[in-house]
């Protein structure tokens, strides 16, 4: 049985570079390589950013914006402690000490709760705003129609033949 000829090396490279999944793997490998050097940071980030992970995992559908909102606010609650870690003692023990301190998690999870509040509160607010602008528009149009009737009579409302 004849063997299938191997594809040329250039073609192989092109095939590798073309796949979107390849980049993600590369990024993950780089991050994984960095883990041993920043394990305390990773530990803090992992435990404090769990609500963001939960937001990402829990949301369905195409408009998945919850993790961005919750994540942003969640990260705002975590970042002061990360700076304390980076500019203090950057060890795993210190990371666990910080985690065992209730303030870190309280700020992190409290911030994420605020993020959730923001995320759930914003759509009704926008809807209310849109409704307000729509009603204003309708009122303006109806006022214009009334003025036309005053000027031209009821027959102006009849459709043109």
């Amino acid at each position: 049985m004849a063997r299938k000829p191997a594809p040329p090396p250039a073609a192989k490279a092109a095939k590798k570079g073309a796949g979107p999944g390849t980049n993600k793997i590369v990024v993950l490998m780089v991050l994984a390589a960095l883990v041993p050097f920043s394990l305390p940071t990773v530990t803090i980030v992992f435990f404090t950013m769990l609500p963001t992970l939960a937001a990402w995992a829990s949301e369905k559908g195409s408009n998945k914006y919850a993790w961005l909102c919750v994540g942003g606010v969640n990260f705002a609650g975590v970042i002061p402690y990360l700076f304390t870690l980076w500019f203090g003692v950057h060890t795993l023990d210190e990371a666990f000490n910080m985690l065992s301190d209730g303030d870190v998690l309280l700020w992190a999870y409290g911030a994420s709760a605020f993020g959730w509040l923001l995320y759930t509160g914003m759509p009704p607010m926008v809807a209310a705003w849109l409704k307000f602008t729509t009603e204003h528009r309708i009122s303006a149009l109806q006022a214009a129609q009334k003025k036309l009737i005053e000027e031209w009579g009821d027959e102006v409302a009849k459709k043109q033949g």
Partner: protein, 682 residues
């Protein structure tokens, strides 16, 4: 007949209790309490009249009956004419006549110095011998007829009971009134030619000078004999005898007449209009020239009579006359071919028999209504049997030029005009014109007129129909509309002032200043063709119809005046709402409503028309209205669209809300990082 009424009247002036007098043209006072029966005609009562400028002038007035159309054209022609053989017509015109409570046509004549020549046709008068007859009667009357011929008019009322001695000595005789009734309306059959005698009195038409000369001949005979030679006969018998024996033989009978008189009477009473003496022949006779005597041409007599309704008829003319008088009974024998057979065998007139057969065949084979076809067939057969007779149709006999006065009388008496309408619509006169053997320009003109009348009758709208025919056929008939009230409107220039006067008296403010009579009157009297405007009067849309009306009135005011008519302008001003509302713009409407009262005060229909019929403003109004409609519709669509997209909006709000929250979260994160960095660095 007509003279019987005159006979009953007393000879003296009847003075009644004083009533308000009538005043004609602010000059002639007509005493309504001083009637003059001896000067009255069968259809016009005479009253004493006075000229304010010359109270000593002896005058009398004849008051026309409102239901009969007077001969206004004749009045115009005869006013002021001074002829020894004619009563002098001094003045004429419509006048408010208190006893009638309305305007009546009034004619003022110079009062004769002597009595009527013959007060009744059944009575007797002093005989005039042949020498005096020529000098006192024939010469002035011939001169009068000549005067009439020179003016292109006919008298049609020449009879001894309508002649007066103009002086107390009885030396001058003159013809009396001929304008207060339709032509020959008061004439007994004895003074009319056979053809005119066959026609209904109201439909005899203006006729020709030859008809006047025939009447003159009969009148001469009466004067010469001093009595009516056929007093024992009624009109129908006289006509029958004239048809059977000829006019001369019927009237003269066994009377012994001087030879010269036989000649002139035979010439004037000749039944053949072509052979009858004309005025030149009479002139020659008066000058002493003796003309070759006329041999009476007798209608061809059948070898055997045609039995009809219990009588036997021996010639075509008398059979046609009998059939015309018994219309329904005449149709079967004609349809059965008996008339054709009689013509072929008894009269031996194969040509006429063939023509009758063809007419009958067409009537039988026609696919249209059999009843109508039979009537038209009989009419045609009667024309074939007697081509010179009037148009005879279902008992109505009319000369073609007599239709107008007949219709006017029918309308005036509130009678049923359907028969005349039917004749015009079925083109009955056309059958008569087609049977003429020689070309007569007047006939072509009349035929064309009848065609036009048919066109008017076939349109039922205002300005057309029977009313239009009425005014088209009667040039001088006053407008019969109740809108003009008591005014006697004969000419178009008199119409708007009459409506202007009537404006204050109207009871219904919504009533338009036009009705079928006014519209038809305008259509007939306007010199230009206004039929298009009249058609617009019948538009279902009130604004368009009203604009057509204002247009007509404005044109007439502009052309004929008067310059100011506040009454009529106010009348129109009160009706213009539909026209104002034809503008869409409320601002324009307010502007017009403000402007019209000012023009009404000025009494100008022309300016009202110009204000309302502004094409540029209308165009602007229409285009702006269309634009406004489009704007309104666009707004409507927008509102609907906005209101119907609620679900979509909710989804949109959810998406935007989430996106906003996400951006806000990221911004909070970034700001926090920045703040922390700044704090750490500082």
């Amino acid at each position: 007949m007509a003279d019987a009424a005159a006979e009953a009247r007393t000879e003296e002036t009847v003075v009644k209790p004083a009533g308000p007098p009538g005043v004609l043209r602010d000059r002639f006072v007509i005493r309504s309490n001083q009637s003059l029966p001896e000067l009255s005609t069968p259809n016009a009562e005479a009253f004493s009249a006075e000229d304010k400028r010359d109270p000593n002038r002896a005058l009398f007035a004849l008051i026309c009956r409102p239901e009969l159309p007077p001969r206004v054209t004749m009045m115009r022609a005869l006013k002021g004419v001074q002829s020894p053989g004619l009563c002098h017509l001094v003045e004429w015109g419509p006048m408010n006549w208190p006893p009638a409570g309305r305007q009546c046509m009034t004619v003022i004549y110079e009062r004769p110095g002597g009595p009527r020549l013959m007060s009744s046709l059944k009575g007797e008068m002093r005989r005039v011998d042949e020498y005096d007859l020529t000098r006192k009667v024939i010469e002035p009357l011939a001169s009068a007829v000549k005067e009439l011929i020179s003016r292109g008019i006919t008298h049609r009322a020449i009879r001894p009971t309508n002649m007066f001695f103009m002086d107390g000595a009885g030396e001058r005789i003159a013809l009396g009134d001929c304008v207060t009734t339709p032509p020959a309306f008061d004439q007994p059959a004895v003074f009319e030619t056979i053809e005119a005698g066959m026609a209904n009195p109201v439909a005899r038409g203006g006729g020709t000078y030859s008809d006047d000369l025939y009447s003159l001949g009969a009148t001469m005979l009466f004067i010469m004999l001093g009595r009516n030679p056929v007093a024992h006969m009624d009109d129908a018998t006289i006509l029958r005898h004239k048809i059977q024996q000829g006019s001369y033989a019927t009237l003269v009978g066994d009377e012994r007449l001087p030879l010269p008189m036989i000649e002139v009477l035979k010439g004037l009473l000749c039944d053949d209009p072509d052979q009858r003496w004309d005025i030149e022949s009479l002139d020659l006779w008066l000058q002493g020239r003796r003309l070759s005597p006329i041999q009476a041409r007798v209608e061809k007599r059948g070898a055997r009579g045609f039995p009809f309704q219990g009588h036997e008829y021996f010639n075509c003319r008398e059979l046609a006359q009998a059939m015309a008088r018994n219309w329904e009974a005449a149709i079967p024998p004609v349809l059965e071919g008996k008339v054709e057979l009689w013509l072929r065998r008894a009269v031996e007139d194969k040509e006429r028999a063939a023509a009758v057969a063809e007419v009958v065949r067409l009537a039988i084979t026609t696919p249209t209504d059999k009843r109508v076809a039979s009537d038209l067939m009989l009419c045609q057969v009667l024309i074939l049997l007697d081509p010179t007779a009037p148009i005879r149709y279902k008992g109505f006999n009319a000369m073609p030029d007599g239709f107008g006065s007949a219709l006017a009388a029918v309308v005036g008496r509130r009678e049923d005009p359907r028969l005349i309408v039917e004749m015009i619509l079925r083109e009955v006169p056309k059958l008569w014109f087609e049977a003429r053997k020689t070309y007569v320009p007047d006939n072509s003109l009349m035929e064309g007129n009848f065609r036009e009348l048919k066109g008017y009758l076939s349109q039922s709208g205002m300005g057309f129909g029977l009313e239009r025919c009425l005014y088209e056929m009667n040039d001088a008939l006053p407008c019969q509309s109740p809108l003009v009230g008591e005014e006697y409107v004969v000419e178009l220039r008199e119409l708007l002032p009459a409506l202007n006067s009537a404006a204050g008296k109207r009871s219904d403010p919504k009533q338009w200043p036009i009705d079928r009579h006014v519209a038809a009157f305008m259509g007939a009297r306007a010199r230009s063709d206004i039929d298009r405007n009249l058609t617009q009067l019948n538009e279902p849309e009130p604004a368009r119809a009203l604009m057509a009306l204002i247009n007509l009135f404005a044109v007439f005011q502009y052309r004929l005046g008067p310059e100011t008519m506040p009454g009529l302008a106010g009348w129109i001003g009160g009706l213009i709402t539909p026209v104002v509302h034809s503008f869409h713009s409320r601002e324009k409407r307010r502007e017009l409503e403000k402007e019209v009262p000012r023009l009404v005060r000025r009494g100008s229909v022309v300016e009202i028309y110009n204000l309302l019929e502004n094409a540029e403003a209308k165009e602007k109004d229409s285009s702006e209205f269309a634009w406004a409609q489009a704007q309104y519709q666009a707004a409507e669509d927008e509102i609907k669209r906005v209101q119907s997209d609620e679900d979509e909006r909710e989804k949109e709000a959810d998406r935007i809300g989430k996106q906003t929250a996400a951006v806000t979260g990221i911004v909070i994160g970034l700001v926090s990082v920045t703040v922390v960095i700044i704090l750490k660095v500082l």
